[in-house]
Symmetry: C2
Subunit: 233 residues, 2 copies
């Protein structure tokens, strides 16, 4: 049984890898979700898990899980299951977690403060070193322990402190100005909550635009479809 | 020229439609983004737009745009371009916008307040009628005009006020309790910001889980990949 599994594992490994031993883009896309679940398991003290259990937990077929994870070599002997810590570490490494990225949050309103309150950054090895705002009432204070500076200092700060990630929780109208200052100061990636699609001329800077409204719309569409189904029953 | 275009339009229409004149799932998935762009154009007072201009704006090929939108009949005569208002209305209808859905936001912390401050809901025809929290200091106040009630009243309120959508901006630990109360009170869809995957036994209730961390991770991965590319140059 073990040898068949081994052969199966090797076959799947070949299938899911691309040239130069790179993990395929399709697998990469699914990894953040595995990372999230494995992180939760680790925090619960669960150190190993079978593909069947992980399958039930994540609502993904066991065969998909094997295909996605076996190429990391995280599968132990038959009957042992996956080593959660090892897999979590491997996926973290692959995804660029714990690269020591440093981030700033621009815009210290409700959304900026909500982002300051989460554990999202620390869990991915990202240090949030400062927040920036234009409001004199909050400049000089700390929000969840993060110091708030004037947006006038944004460029020089990012340059001096080697900031890699800029989070934009500013109004739409301010987004391009803030983005340009950060890009000129060497920031490598922008996480954009300004509710507009930020397009930069500089192809070296990565932008992740968050569009919560699209998700809300998906929800409405599904509710509508479900109601219509029910009406037709 | 016009007749060729018409034939082309009809052909594409057939291709992108499924049985019973339904728009295909692939097109549906792309519609929220069209809806967002068309809404922005309308607010700027732009009433018609060519597929070429929309293509540049949205960074999608003109042929993809024609394929996605021609089945709505929103394309006018050759050289006229799309009727923005008509298309926006058609897509809104299809997506379940303006169905008159009523929503509550549970959790009036930073994230809940940020959600109270956006125009996201109103733009999709959703009325936010109330917020709920456990903090006695904010119960009885209004946040951006929305009254805040005690979470003890959540169930009876949802039932009495025919609430369709529940937004969860509560801590992870409270998510299931809050969800159950709302589902029992007839809420049809949950928009979950509690940073965990909410799974309900009731297949009739739609859940949209928001995982901002997955997007942050994608950003890290792209920065890392880009840096490695640069190192190899």
């Amino acid at each position: 049984m073990e040898s068949i599994d081994k052969i199966h594992g090797t076959f799947e490994k070949k299938q899911s890898e691309q040239k130069n031993g790179q993990v395929s883009a399709a697998v990469i896309k699914r990894l953040p979700r595995y990372h999230r679940y494995l992180g939760d398991l680790l925090r619960e003290g669960i150190l190993r898990i079978s593909s069947a259990s992980l399958s039930r937990l994540m609502n993904v077929t066991a065969s998909q899980i094997r295909q996605d994870l076996n190429c990391f070599g995280g599968f132990g002997q038959q009957g042992y299951g996956y080593n959660v810590k090892y897999l979590y570490g491997k996926i973290s490494e692959l995804l660029g977690v714990n690269e020591g990225y440093r981030a700033v949050i621009v815009g210290a309103g409700n959304l900026g403060s909500a982002l300051a309150a989460t554990h999202m950054f620390e869990r991915r090895g990202i240090a949030r070193v400062a927040m920036f705002d234009t409001n004199p009432d909050i400049i000089g204070t700390k929000i969840y322990g993060i110091p708030v500076y004037s947006v006038d200092e944004l460029g020089s700060f990012c340059e001096r402190e080697s900031i890699s990630i800029g989070v934009l929780s500013v109004p739409k109208e301010a987004a391009y100005d803030v983005a340009r200052v950060m890009v000129d100061a060497g920031v490598k990636g922008l996480w954009n909550f300004a509710n507009m699609e930020l397009k930069l001329d500089n192809p070296d800077v990565i932008v992740e635009n968050i569009h919560l409204g699209d998700s809300l719309m998906k929800l409405c569409f599904k509710i509508k479809t479900k109601s219509e189904e029910a009406d037709n029953d």
